[in-house]
């Protein structure tokens, strides 16, 4: 069963999780599984040299430090590299190809297969960066990648250039997988008695407010082209779908409907949004165009229907949460409301996110929900075709709102260690549950990863 996947290491890297689920085939519904490196495939060992400042002014040194730290983090966060610890790097800092002595980098203790290096400088208000990726084992033709970047000099530009260079390296070495270093995470910031929509870079840097509505705004969902942000906001008539244009940097109109309107979700071509609306009395899943036109109802069962998400691969299916049999369960259906399939077999399941390749659903699940039950709400991933699942978080308090990265190898989610809403933070992890780390401090919830 495993052999077809072992013959294709490229495919393996692309969909590491599929491989791991296949490994776990005989261990259906177990709550532990092997990490990537323990599965017998070694990651590429890469060294990220400190970049060489081509002038000694303090400004350049400052940008260089930001760049070095960001590049190192991006490569180690990618989850496909064995990155060489900074303390094991050679003393030299090559700024250009003639300055690198490759055997120095391929020899122990560095033992790098790949080396990223280059020079950085400020020229006439521009931050100029030359980045190289060399194959340390190929002494004759070592160059894999050479890039030059030039941006108006700022600390943020240094960070963005590092993100773009990291994405180039990841794209080249992962066999075509788009990096995520330039992606954003939108989330809900709790504070001052209200909740506003905020945004940050994928690594938690550059946290800033998007909305200033002075009310409770929830469930930010970024459009596939990064132009619009749909969310739900409380006004005098209850929660309504709202729309913010990131191009115009202001709210744009979305017509108010009756009842409570919640949890918008974009279809992968950005032409429709699905959301929960109780305009007909009972909360049901509705689909309309992104300006609210041509609304149509998709579900019709008594009880809460909420949190829809399109299959990003096909756009033809919706996963959502329904309370039609009391406790909320995860369901999928076609976008016309047919072919309804219940996915979870009990407990309390919420907040689905569909993996970019269409194969998996991440969601929050409390499998032993009930008064006095010892259950915790954790993040799970289920393979849609087989309904086999794995648990990604354990005993770390309440987890909710998983959201896949565009490359399908990371999941961002919300966690509160002590269960209190005020202590909710946004975390990130690899899609196999490893490398968990917080991106924000207390008071951040409902993360949503951009599509690109």
């Amino acid at each position: 069963m495993l052999s077809p996947k072992r013959t294709s290491p490229t495919l393996y890297r692309l969909v590491a999780l599929l491989f791991l689920l296949s490994c776990a085939a005989s261990l259906r519904a177990q709550d532990w599984f092997k990490t990537e490196t323990s599965s017998g495939i070694s990651s590429i060992r890469i060294a990220a040299a400190d970049f060489k400042p081509l002038s000694a002014d303090p400004q350049t040194i400052g940008f260089k430090k930001t760049f070095d730290a960001t590049l190192f983090n991006d490569l180690s966060n990618a989850g496909i590299f064995d990155i060489v610890s900074k303390s094991l790097l050679p003393q030299s800092t090559p700024g250009a190809p003639p300055e690198i002595n490759l055997p120095q980098w391929s020899a122990a203790p560095t033992s790098a297969s790949m080396v990223a290096f280059g020079g950085i400088n400020v020229q006439g208000g521009k931050l100029v960066c030359n980045g190289y990726l060399f194959d340390a084992k190929n002494l004759q033709y070592p160059q894999v990648l050479a890039k030059q970047y030039s941006e108006d000099a700022s600390d943020d530009a240094a960070r963005q250039i590092a993100h773009r260079f990291a994405d180039e390296i990841i794209f080249r070495l992962s066999g075509g997988s788009q990096g995520i270093a330039e992606t954003k995470v939108y989330y809900v910031k709790i504070g001052g008695g209200g909740k506003e929509i905020w945004a940050m870079d994928y690594d938690g840097a550059n946290q800033h407010a998007i909305t200033h509505l002075g009310t409770v705004s929830l469930s930010p969902r970024i459009s596939p082209d990064n132009s619009r942000l749909a969310f739900s906001s409380l006004d005098k008539s209850g929660f309504q779908i709202r729309m913010f244009s990131l191009v115009l940097n202001r709210m744009v109109n979305f017509p108010a409907a009756g009842g409570t309107n919640l949890s918008p979700a974009w279809d992968p071509n950005g032409k429709e949004i699905a959301y929960s609306s109780s305009r007909s009395g009972d909360p049901e899943i509705w689909i309309s165009s992104p300006d609210g036109a041509a609304p149509r109802r998709v579900t019709s069962f008594s009880g809460p229907d909420v949190s829809p998400v399109f299959n990003p691969r096909t756009g033809a299916q919706i996963a959502w949460i329904s309370g039609r049999t009391n406790l909320p369960q995860l369901y999928i259906m076609d976008t016309d409301g047919s072919a309804v399939q219940r996915m979870t077999d009990g407990g309390y399941a919420t907040s689905p996110s569909w993996s970019p390749n269409g194969q998996f659903l991440a969601f929050a699940w409390d499998r032993k929900y009930g008064p006095g039950a010892p259950g915790g709400q954790d993040i799970y991933v289920m393979e849609v075709a087989t309904k086999r699942w794995i648990q990604l978080t354990h005993d770390g308090g309440r987890c909710d709102f998983p959201s896949w990265s565009p490359d399908g190898r990371h999941i961002v989610y919300a966690n509160t260690a002590d269960g209190s809403a005020a202590h909710m933070k946004v975390w990130t992890m690899l899609a196999d549950g490893t490398q968990k780390r917080p991106l924000t401090s207390d008071g951040a919830d409902m993360p949503n990863w951009s599509w690109k």
Partner: protein, 255 residues
């Protein structure tokens, strides 16, 4: 009494004025269908004694409700109702007496005068309630919350419990007695579970409370629902008594 009559008299004047305006503006186009000259001579002045009937529908009301007075006369030249004043020869009038009242009509003509009367009984609740509320006044929050009490739900449920049925009945009769009141029902959930699902569940809870009131006779148009899910909490401790406080449908005056 006198205040009520002043109100009804004013209302009558307004209606009469509107009728005059209507006759002067909108109606004259339609008059072309009838030639006044073809109607023949006016009827001879009545010389017989007038007759009169006065009815009220319903004859008994709860405090705050309205009654329609309906009178018909023949051969009369002027008709007055005590407390209302001079009225049309035949007509109807809606009144909202605050106590049981005898409405007394006098019809006069050259041939004499006749009287008719009807008694409207106003049932005033014996239990202490809000001060008499007249139309257009929503009354006090205290009186509202005393009579329209929040209902509570089991976990992950939006079904009205048996204990909610009692308070719904009480709330419905209070609202029936105070037709000016509009209600907003807030749906709330405890802070366990997921925010989006709880907002949908809160909507179902508020709707269940609304359905209870509508089934008890309150017009659906008087009720608005808003779900707050777990976004607003009455109690923030992590125990069952606190969670129970948060699983509710809260009634408020919709001002």
């Amino acid at each position: 009494m006198s205040a009520m009559h002043t109100v009804t008299r004013k209302a009558f004047i307004v209606i009469a004025a509107l009728a005059t305006i209507g006759a002067a503006t909108g109606c004259h186009k339609k008059a072309s269908g009838v030639d006044p000259n073809s109607l023949g001579p006016p009827p001879a002045p009545p010389s017989a004694a007038p007759t009169a009937t006065l009815t009220a529908d319903p004859l008994a009301i709860d405090l705050g409700q309205s009654v329609v007075l309906n009178w018909r006369t023949q051969n009369a030249t002027s008709v007055t109702i005590d407390g209302i004043g001079e009225v049309n020869l035949n007509g109807t009038q809606t009144v909202t007496p605050s106590t049981s009242t005898n409405f007394h009509l006098t019809a006069k003509s050259d041939g004499g005068a006749t009287e008719a009367s009807v008694r409207v009984t106003v049932r005033v609740p014996v239990a202490p309630t809000a001060p008499a509320i007249t139309e257009g006044d929503m009354g006090s929050d205290a009186a509202f919350h005393q009579n329209v009490q929040d209902v509570f739900f089991d976990y992950d449920s939006f079904e009205l419990r048996p204990d909610a049925a009692t308070s719904t009945t009480q709330a419905a009769s209070f609202l029936a007695a105070h037709p000016a009141i509009k209600v907003v029902i807030g749906g709330y959930c405890d802070d366990r579970g997921s925010a989006e699902y709880n907002l949908a569940l809160g909507e179902n809870r508020a709707n269940a409370a609304k359905t209870g009131l509508v089934a008890a006779g309150v017009a659906a148009t008087r009720i608005r629902v808003i779900s707050y899910g777990k976004e607003k909490q009455f109690c923030t401790e992590e125990n069952e008594s606190c969670w129970q406080q948060n699983r509710r449908a809260q009634f408020s005056l919709d001002r």
